[in-house]
């Protein structure tokens, strides 16, 4: 369960403060939550609050009762985070080593860590690429590997910030189906409105505020109406 209790984010010096996210109160218990909104609307900030990557400047964020401010490491153990730029998320030179890096958190060592890493890669259909340079993987393979690396530690909640934005249709379909099949609670920031409609709950963020929240069809319709307005400076 994800709770935002008056959680807001303000950045910049005191005399030039910019509100990125207005104080927001939400309780997310649904298994599949989608966050949609225009570029710069604050949806990524909302996602980062859940993992503790960004701390609220007002209010609180709690995940399964853990406060992101006071229990940061525990929150990050509980919440996995996948970025849109998988290339930047992969730390080690080969897929096997990258998954193994995640498993170090679980205290797995040596041969056991290797075997577990290979099992995880096999589950994601990447076992044949275990020792290939990460640099040589396609965008879809990199995103799949990023997911494997995050899910290796079996987080209870998964947050994905535009995980399919850089993928072609085939990989987008594959990653979307994979996310849909996960046991974890998944919060996805996305521009893919078809995928958003399949969620259990959709939040629409605009101008740093949640302007629509609830039934996916109604929320997506509200978003389409919002986006039909002319672009400033366009």
């Amino acid at each position: 369960m994800i709770e935002l209790d008056g959680a807001g984010v303000v950045v910049g010096p005191r005399d030039h403060e910019v509100t990125v996210l207005e104080p927001t109160t939400l309780t997310l218990t649904e298994r599949r939550v989608a966050v949609i909104g225009a570029n710069g609307s604050g949806k990524s900030t909302l996602a980062r609050l859940v993992n503790g990557l960004t701390l609220p400047t007002t209010g609180y964020v709690r995940v399964h009762g853990l406060d992101s401010h006071d229990d940061g490491p525990a929150v990050r153990r509980t919440v996995g985070f996948v970025f849109s730029d998988a290339d930047a998320q992969l730390v080690m030179p080969t897929p096997l080593e990258d998954v193994a890096l995640s498993l170090r958190r679980l205290g797995l060592r040596g041969r056991a860590r290797d075997e577990r890493s290979r099992e995880i890669l096999a589950r994601f259909g990447l076992d044949h690429l275990a020792d290939v340079s990460v640099h040589a993987l396609s965008g879809g393979q990199k995103q799949l590997l990023a997911l494997a690396g995050v899910l290796a530690t079996e987080p209870q909640v998964l947050v994905c910030d535009e995980p399919t934005t850089r993928l072609d249709l085939r990989w987008r379909t594959h990653v979307t189906a994979l996310l849909a099949g996960l046991e974890q609670q998944v919060l996805v920031v996305t521009h893919d409105l078809d995928a958003a409609q399949d969620a259990d709950r959709v939040l629409v963020v605009d101008g740093g505020r949640v302007v629509a929240d609830g039934d996916p069809r109604e929320a997506v319709r509200a978003y389409r109406e919002l986006m039909a307005r002319p672009v400033d400076g366009g």
């Binding site: 985070f81 030179p93 080593e97 890096l101």
Partner: protein, 227 residues
């Protein structure tokens, strides 16, 4: 009608000489990473102290033999080391002109030999195994407040990042060419620097999001240190 132009194969971007592990059962693969690292360190010191063209050229020959024994594909090794060889040759020519042929040959050959030996090390040793060894060997740094795990992760990130930065530089160059600014250094350097910094930020976020080095560091990078 057949085209008279020859088709060219699109090659993968240059990924640098280091960090490309090649699995294999060779004798070099079977040597534990500790002795390999120590050997590289000893050769570096010897080349610095015992200066001379024949010692340096001999080390180049030795590194070539080791690359062969480690079953690093010759074409891949040549392609990875070629830019280093060109840079070493330019440096060597300058030294030849400034200080004589012996210094020129020594400088160029030493540089090529050390990078080639480092290539043997990374081609025959998995990075995470290397990390464990680095953590063990840099353990005493804890006394001066430096976390060995951080040092090891920094080296792993360096090995991982070099190919990405090479790709990024190609993208920036293409973008500058597309705007007709291919010869303007500002159109190359400024976006490259900005993108490199942005990438560093994203990688930092990713490390933080994965909780790497966050809790008990000894349980993470280089857990062999506790064995």
């Amino acid at each position: 009608m057949r085209s008279s132009r020859r088709r060219r194969r699109v090659r993968e971007p240059w990924a640098g000489p280091l960090g490309s592990y090649t699995p294999g059962p060779s004798p070099v693969h079977r040597i534990p990473p500790g002795p390999k690292l120590l050997g590289l360190a000893v050769v570096s010191v010897v080349l610095t102290i015992v200066q001379g063209p024949w010692v340096a050229v001999g080390t180049v020959v030795l590194s070539g033999v080791l690359l062969r024994v480690a079953t690093v594909p010759a074409r891949a090794a040549a392609r990875a080391l070629a830019p280093v060889a060109v840079a070493a040759a330019l440096l060597g020519l300058y030294q030849w002109w400034a200080r004589g042929w012996e210094v020129g040959v020594t400088t160029a050959a030493s540089l090529v030999a050390l990078v080639a030996l480092a290539t043997v090390l990374t081609a025959s040793t998995r990075t995470d195994v290397l990390l464990d060894t680095l953590v063990r060997s840099t353990g005493p740094l804890r006394r001066v407040g430096i976390q060995p795990q951080t040092v090891a992760l920094t080296i792993a990130l360096m090995l991982r990042t070099i190919p990405s930065l090479v790709t990024m530089s190609g993208e920036v160059r293409d973008a500058a060419r597309a705007r007709g600014l291919g010869r303007d250094p500002r159109a190359l350097l400024v976006p490259f620097a900005l993108r490199a910094v942005a990438r560093a930020h994203t990688t930092g976020d990713a490390l933080a999001a994965r909780g790497i080095l966050e809790e008990d560091p000894s349980a993470q990078v280089g857990d062999a240190a506790r064995r």
